[in-house]
Amino acid sequence: MAQLRYGAAIGQALADAMQDDPTVVIMGEDIAGAGGSFGITRGLLDKFGPERVIDTPISEAAIAGMAVGAAMSGLKPVLEIMFMDFTTLAMDAMVNQAAKARFMFGAQVSVPMVLRTPHGGGLSAGPQHSQCLEAWFAHVPGLKVVCPSGPANAYGLLRAAIADPDPVVFVEHKGLYAMRDEVPEVLAPIPLGQAAVVRSGEHVTVVAYGAAVALAMQTAEQLASESISVEVIDLQTIQPWDEAAVLASLAKTGHLVVVHEAVEAFGVGAEIAARMAELGFSYLKGPIVRVGAPFMPVPFSAELEATYRPSVSRLIAAVRKALGKE
């Protein structure tokens, strides 16, 4: 098995997609000469030239709108928005244009674009450079939302996102960029909309995505020593999410916990909990428990941020609560 870093896997997926399809172009602030704020696009300018690796001015609204127009005119643009917090400036293009075009134009056109952006805390980056806003996008019909948890699915999901005919918001966790892990010898796309059972268990299901998957795996490891068998599901795609996989796991374990770094209220966990309460009520043997951030902005102080972000100890407490073992 080969090893790859999360950031390098994303760069590799971009390079391979550009190699395979001449209509794929990437655009964003400082992505060409500088190789991106996190170095993800380093080397692509030399390989593909300035026509396909486009440095743009600091104009998020225009870049995103341009991606829509370019996607409607024969290109497959992949734009990078430097921090997910800055997607606020691109919201009209994403919500009113990209998401709606196929529907409101009577399926005359699809908008094959990808917006890549990093979310998440852990870097003391403060309230405007740390947010997890994926639930906003998942709430908009017409958008797809993907959030990889490691190098292997970062590569596979990004290849699928770029090949997808619809607009995809591809959410990376900036704390994972340096993560090194095994990847298959032959890298291939991973279909959107499919979750992965990354640890099989019997007693409780923990659903996670992105960086929270590692938390869930650590939690499962610790609880195994207490003979609590945790099944961990990596959602991979948030919209459309794999209801069938979560329901099947719930049918087996009867208990459900959802964990993410985003604010808990009105979040992805709320949707999963609601749907499973509807679809899987007869399987439930206890309350569905969510673990997320409190209802406050992400603080700058490293100590405050550590308290703010979900942790293994909070997740363990949540699993006990779900199992009625508080």
Binding site: M66, M72, G74
Partner: protein, 328 residues
């Protein structure tokens, strides 16, 4: 291509433009009535009086050139070549509409003729056209993109972002400001502090300002600027002064307008004068008018008879079917 000239060809181009002006005018007059009678639902924004801009600019475009439009986009759609049947069926919310009854007036679009859509968000078309121009440039297909916007949109930030981007990247983009003097319910003089000529100069964008009620003047300026753009000169901006005869939307009581506004120049009358000067008989124009009216009535009859928009089909088109993930 200039609309006037000598011989049959010159007159033929101007006659085609005259017919397009009439098509747009009569369509919107019919929509006005259909809306008042409750047959057209939702919000409609009419561009009566502004037709010469659509027709004149489109005379300089080929079928594969693209455009992004505004909430007042009927003229752009029809002048680019949207079929009357699909147009009226859309406005009447039919399954046979160009957008299968999901977009309506504010979203009429026809990708087969490069009409990338009317748009409900003021200024949004600027970035869509800029992106389309980027695609044309990278694909080296010789095409250009056009962004229509009103003078109210001059207050939107995207104008700066896209002007800067297009000038920087030398994109094949024609910006067309339809300056009707109104920013929704407010006079533009109370909303906009800058002058577009100076704005264009600051960005290094070629600029012309012409009488947007004279289709010949619009066509000439559009031909000149699109020539510059196609030869690799980067973006250009054309301001067309015009008049908004109707309200911001149909049903707008327009209490903000004064009764002593000067009477606007009618683009159809102006075009008729050009034709008279070129020696075209009035009878010819009467024949065109009769044909246009009958084609419009046929389209309305067909739309009325068409099946209504379908919910199941709409739901199925939120995503491209093949890519939908697992769901219950």
């Amino acid at each position: 291509m200039p609309l006037t000239g000598t011989g049959e060809d010159g007159n033929a181009a101007l006659l085609r433009s005259y017919e397009q002006l009439l098509v747009i005018r009569r369509c919107e007059e019919r929509l006005q009535r259909l809306f008042a009678e409750g047959e057209v639902p939702g919000f409609i924004h009419l561009g009566v009086g502004q037709e010469a801009i659509s027709v004149g600019v489109m005379s300089a475009l080929g079928p594969a050139d693209t455009l992004a439009s505004t909430h007042r986009g009927h003229g752009h759609a029809l002048a680019k070549g949207m079929p009357l049947d699909g147009f009226f069926a859309e406005l009447l919310a039919r399954d046979t509409g160009v957008c299968r009854g999901r977009g309506g007036s504010m979203h009429v679009a026809d990708m087969s003729i490069g009409m990338l859509g009317a748009n409900g968000i003021v200024g949004a078309g600027l970035s869509i056209a800029t992106g389309s121009a980027l695609a044309h440039k990278l694909r080296k297909n010789g095409q250009i993109a056009v962004s229509f916007f009103g003078d109210g949109a001059l207050a939107e930030g995207l104008l700066h972002e896209c002007g800067n981007m297009a000038a920087l990247m030398k994109l094949p983009l024609l910006l067309v400001c339809e300056a009707n003097g109104w920013s929704e319910f407010s006079p533009v003089s109370s909303q906009i502090a800058f002058d577009l000529a100076k704005w264009s100069e600051a960005y290094g964008i070629a600029y012309r300002k012409i009488d947007g009620n004279d289709v010949v003047a619009v066509a000439e300026a559009a031909a000149e600027l699109t020539g510059l753009i196609r030869s690799g000169g980067g973006p250009a901006l054309l301001t067309c002064t015009t008049d908004r005869w109707r309200g911001h939307f149909e049903g707008d009581a327009q209490k903000y307008r004064s009764s002593d506004e000067p009477a606007p120049r009618d683009p159809i009358v102006v075009a008729g004068e050009h034709l008279a000067a070129a020696g075209v008989a009035t009878q010819r124009l009467t024949q065109i008018a009769a044909r246009v009216e009958s084609e419009i009535e046929e389209a309305i009859v067909a739309a009325r008879a068409a099946p209504p928009a379908r919910f199941d089909a709409a739901l199925a088109d939120v995503y491209t079917a093949a890519s939908i993930g697992v769901a219950i």
